[in-house]
C-alpha cells in the first residue's frame, strides 16, 4: 500500500470566507476526527492532495506542525465541477483497527460477448471492503474475457486478498455483457414525435384549458 506524504498546517476553524482565503493560497481545509479525541482543523497542500487522490490513496501521511502522522481519507468534497477538492475529512486510525473503504474494480480483458456485438456494462465500479489499514488493496482486478452474451460477473467471483471482506452482497452484479438493443437504423431514425404536434396529457383538475385567442384587437 502506497502512503503519500502531504504537507499541511494547523488552522483555526473559520467561516466560509476564511476557507476561501485558504483555497486561494493553494490549500484545502480539512478536519481530523476519530478515536474519541476532539476534532482538529488543518489545511492541506492542494497539489499534494490531488497527487494522492489521483493514485486513489486511502492513507496519507500528514506533515504539519513539525510532526508526521498517518490518517485515513474518509471523505473528499469537490467543487460543483467535481474537479477541485474543497474539503477533506481525515480519520485517526489504529494499525489493528478494521476500516471500511471503497476500492476501485478494474475489468481486465475483452469479453467474448463483445466480439459478438454485445456491450460490456460496468455496474459496480467501487467495492466497499472492510480490512486492516495495512491490507487495503490498491485495486481489484476482475477478468471478464470469458463472459459471453448476457453473462455477468458477480461480487462472489472477485478474488479478495486475505483478510479483506466485502460489505456487498455476493449476488451483486459487477459487470454484464448486454446484447445490442436495436439496429443502427432504428437508433438513428427520427421519431414520430419529431413531426407530430403531440402534447403531453394534462392531469385534469376540473378546469378545462382554454385555447388562447390570437389575432389583433
Amino acid at each position: 500500500m502506497e502512503i503519500t506524504r502531504i504537507e499541511g498546517e494547523q488552522r483555526t476553524p473559520g467561516n466560509r470566507h476564511a476557507n476561501e482565503r485558504l483555497r486561494a493560497r493553494g490549500l484545502v481545509p480539512a478536519v481530523i476526527y476519530g478515536h474519541g479525541q476532539p476534532p482538529e482543523t488543518v489545511a492541506l497542500s492542494r497539489h499534494d492532495l490531488e497527487l494522492a487522490l489521483s493514485h486513489t490513496a486511502h492513507v496519507v501521511a500528514l506533515r504539519a506542525g513539525g510532526r508526521e502522522t498517518q490518517y485515513l481519507v474518509k471523505d473528499v468534497q469537490y467543487d460543483h465541477l467535481h474537479k477541485t477538492p474543497i474539503h477533506v475529512d481525515l480519520m485517526r486510525f489504529d494499525a489493528n483497527e478494521r476500516v471500511q473503504v471503497k476500492v476501485p474494480i478494474e475489468l481486465r480483458g475483452t469479453p467474448k460477448g463483445s466480439q459478438e456485438g454485445g456491450t460490456l456494462v460496468h455496474i459496480l465500479t467501487d467495492l466497499e471492503v472492510e480490512c486492516l489499514v495495512t491490507q487495503i488493496p490498491e485495486r481489484l482486478r476482475v477478468a471478464v474475457d470469458h463472459l459471453g452474451m448476457n453473462e455477468s460477473v458477480h461480487v462472489r467471483d472477485i478474488a479478495l486478498p486475505a483478510g479483506v471482506q466485502t460489505l456487498h452482497r455476493a449476488d451483486d452484479i459487477v459487470a454484464i455483457v448486454h446484447p445490442p438493443r436495436g439496429t443502427t437504423a432504428e437508433e438513428l431514425a427520427p421519431s414520430e414525435a419529431a413531426e407530430g404536434p403531440a402534447e403531453p396529457e394534462v392531469i385534469a383538475k376540473g378546469k378545462e384549458e382554454k385555447e388562447g385567442e390570437e389575432g389583433g384587437e
Binding site: T56, V73, V76, L81, H122, T183, T184, L188, G212, E214
Partner: protein, 139 residues
C-alpha cells in the same frame, strides 16, 4: 427521439432564472466518461436528440450512451404578428434546465478515445460550453 413528459400538471410554465451551480447530477454515475456543462443554459429536446443521434451514428452500436437530462420545462411562444396581451402563448418546445456542473451525457463500454470523439460530436450540438470528464473513484 425528441422527448417530452407523458403527463404534466400544467401545460405552461413561467420562464424563471437559472441561478447557481449543479449540486446534484454533477458526477459520472452510469458510464465511464461524461460530458459536463460548464455554463447555465436551456438544452432543448431537439438538442438532446441531435446529440444522441450524432453519438449513436459515430459509435456504430458500440458501447452505451446514457442521457442524464430530460426536457421537463415547456417554453411558450406568441405567434408572429400578434399584438401584446391576450394571454400567454402556446407551448412551442420542451427544454431541460442545465446548471454548471450538470453531467448531460455519459458513455460506457468504449475506450477513452472513442468516448472523446463521440462527446466532441455531441458538444457541437449543445447550446452550452462543455468539458469531458471521467468517472472519479470513491475513497
Amino acid at each position: 427521439m425528441p422527448t417530452m413528459p407523458k403527463r404534466v400538471k400544467y401545460r405552461k410554465a413561467q420562464k424563471g432564472r437559472i441561478r447557481g451551480n449543479a449540486t446534484r447530477g454533477n458526477t459520472v454515475a452510469f458510464g465511464d466518461f461524461g460530458l459536463q456543462a460548464l455554463e447555465p443554459g436551456m438544452v432543448h429536446a431537439r438538442h438532446i436528440e441531435a446529440g444522441r443521434v450524432a453519438a449513436a451514428h459515430f459509435m456504430q452500436r458500440e458501447g452505451r450512451i446514457y442521457i442524464r437530462i430530460f426536457p421537463h420545462k415547456p417554453v411558450s411562444r406568441k405567434p408572429l404578428e400578434t399584438r401584446m396581451g391576450k394571454g400567454k402563448g402556446e407551448p412551442e418546445f420542451w427544454t431541460a434546465i442545465v446548471k454548471p456542473g450538470t453531467v448531460m451525457f455519459e458513455i460506457g463500454g468504449v475506450n477513452e478515445d472513442v468516448a472523446k470523439a463521440a462527446f466532441l460530436r455531441i458538444a457541437h450540438k449543445m447550446p452550452v460550453k462543455t468539458r469531458f470528464v471521467t468517472r472519479r473513484h470513491g475513497v
